[in-house]
């Protein structure tokens, strides 16, 4: 199952400049493993040993996975993932 993933500006160096990529996986964790295969280095920017990094939010649709099941959050057909990192510019 291919899921659309929106890549923020700060991570596009890892996706060859693409702002949207697709990845496969039944859960958010599995999807990140698949992302890593095609875009090495991205996993480290999203997760650490404790789970989703605390300065990045992963949304399935409008919902933050931290308030769902974290990396275990199941994905279904049609879901879209948004990666929303903390930014500070003003």
């Amino acid at each position: 199952m291919a899921t659309k993933v929106r890549i923020p500006a700060s991570l596009r160096t890892l996706t060859g400049g693409k702002d949207e990529v697709t990845a496969a996986g039944d859960t958010v964790g599995a999807l990140i493993e698949d992302l890593e295969k095609n875009h090495p280095g991205i996993k480290d920017r999203l997760v650490d040993e404790k789970g989703v990094r605390r300065f990045v939010n992963l949304y399935v649709g409008e919902e933050d996975v931290r308030f769902l099941d974290g990396l275990g959050t199941p994905l279904k057909a049609g879901d879209e993932i948004s990666i929303v990192p903390a930014i500070a510019g003003g």
């Binding site: 923020p8 702002d19 605390r54 300065f55 939010n57 929303v84 930014i87 003003g90």
Partner: protein, 427 residues
């Protein structure tokens, strides 16, 4: 033949007719001649009257009624029934559908004595309003009885003119404009986001604008920081901003603070400001602004930008919910519990930023601030609006309050300011 049809040329009043006779197309079918006395008697028969005691009872019970004051503006300004909307009878037909779009809304019209409001009620019924009553007698008696009244804020003629487009909006009006003039907004940063936010807040007549920024204007700022000018490169940003804002609107008191927001000055700087607009450019200040917001009970309108992307939301802590009459939401730490390590968080200075981007985000921030001050609309509380300028897409993501949040959670572990530079240097 009678009435106006007989008044074709001046000086040719028909003999033995009173000038008050008019031709009236009544609701009883066909055209008939009538006098003012007949007219008003007919109107009174068709309209439902309420007593002033009943109006007062409903007011005290906070029943959902629209009180419509149909007197002239100068009468209204001398005092009105609390909560009333002013719509002089001369503008009734023209403006009522804008001000009261719901034709089934419950309306009580009143005037000074009860006559103009009865006529207004009849007109409203003809326009399709189904729930109109008229108070009888009117405001003169209301005042004599010593019932509560309000006076509209004292706006000068120049202010009525300057803010006329606001005053026309029922959601703002003279009361809302006066609220804005009495409001105080503190902008953290007079840069990319602070520039458009401050300009619009000043134009809108927010009475006091505080600006916190220790920097001086650099030529590289001018690509986006529209408060400043080429002639003021090298000047303190707050001084440059003050010049622009005073010229735009002399009603606004601009207070510049040439200092960096820090743990030891944040309580003083937040002071008695109503709303904080966070347009700073670094993580330590953002976490400090957040913690101070929770500790001091101030809403923060948060905006941040990076390259082509922007984020904007409103953080309203529990401690500020009552003052603003809206439900509280999550804080910045609920959204991002920790900052990124410095090597993963390049600044705009390092990574670049589209000059127009802060224009969009800063203006959304100003809009949020104005809405909070007016108590209108739905703020971005618990919603993160993201903006992608390249794709020209706005998206909305749900933000949730983290019960385990160290600052605003159930058992907070951070209850005073911490070392923010140290907190943000870990990586």
């Amino acid at each position: 033949m009678s009435g106006l049809s007989g008044v074709k040329t001046p000086g040719k009043w028909p003999v033995a007719r009173t000038p008050l006779e008019i031709r009236y197309n009544g609701c009883n079918g066909g055209t008939m001649a009538t006098t003012y006395t007949d007219l008003i008697a007919g109107v009174r028969k068709r309209t439902k009257e309420v007593t002033l005691d009943e109006v007062k009872r409903r007011l005290e019970a906070k029943e959902p009624y629209v009180l419509l004051d149909v007197r002239e503006k100068d009468e209204f300004r001398a005092g009105y029934i609390p909560g009333a909307i002013s719509l002089p009878r001369g503008f009734l037909e023209i403006q009522v559908e804008q001000k009261l779009p719901d034709k089934n809304v419950k309306i009580v019209a009143y005037c000074a004595g009860g006559t103009r409001s009865a006529l207004a009620a009849a007109t409203l019924a003809e326009l399709g309003y189904t729930n109109v009553e008229t108070a009888n007698p009117g405001f003169v008696r209301w005042k004599d009885l010593g019932y509560p009244q309000e006076k509209p804020p004292e706006l000068t003629d120049a202010q009525r003119d300057r803010y006329s487009r606001h005053i026309l909006l029922p959601e703002v009006g003279e009361v809302g404009q006066s609220k804005l003039l009495q409001s105080k907004v503190l902008l953290i940063g007079a840069g990319g986001l602070g520039s458009p936010a401050a300009l619009y807040l000043a134009a809108a007549g927010v009475g006091t604008l505080g600006l916190v920024d220790a920097d001086v204007v650099d030529a590289s700022n001018l690509q986006r920081q529209i408060l400043h000018a080429t002639s003021r490169v090298g000047a303190f940003k707050v001084d440059s901003a003050e010049k622009t804002l005073r010229d735009l609107n002399p009603d606004v008191k601009v207070i510049g603070y040439k200092e960096r927001l820090l743990s030891d000055n944040v309580d003083r700087l937040f002071g008695d400001y109503d709303v904080i607009v966070d347009g700073t450019d670094n993580f330590p200040t953002r976490y400090l602004v957040n913690d101070a917001s929770v500790f001091l009970g101030k809403p923060v309108v948060h905006g941040s930008i990076f390259r082509f992307d922007g984020q904007v939301t409103t953080f309203l802590p529990e401690s500020a919910a009552k003052k603003f009459g809206v439900a509280s939401g999550p804080c910045y730490r609920c959204l991002y519990p920790e900052p990124p390590p410095p090597h993963l968080a390049p600044s705009c200075q390092e990574a670049g930023v589209l000059g127009i981007l802060p224009g969009i985000i800063g203006v959304v921030q100003a809009t949020e601030a104005i809405k909070l001050l007016l108590g209108q609309g739905e703020p971005l509380i618990g919603r993160l609006l993201t903006y992608d300028s390249l794709k020209m897409k706005f998206r909305e993501l749900r933000l949730r309050k983290d019960p385990g949040c160290p600052v605003c959670g159930k058992n907070p572990t951070i209850t005073s300011y911490i070392d923010y530079e140290g907190f943000c240097a870990i990586g």
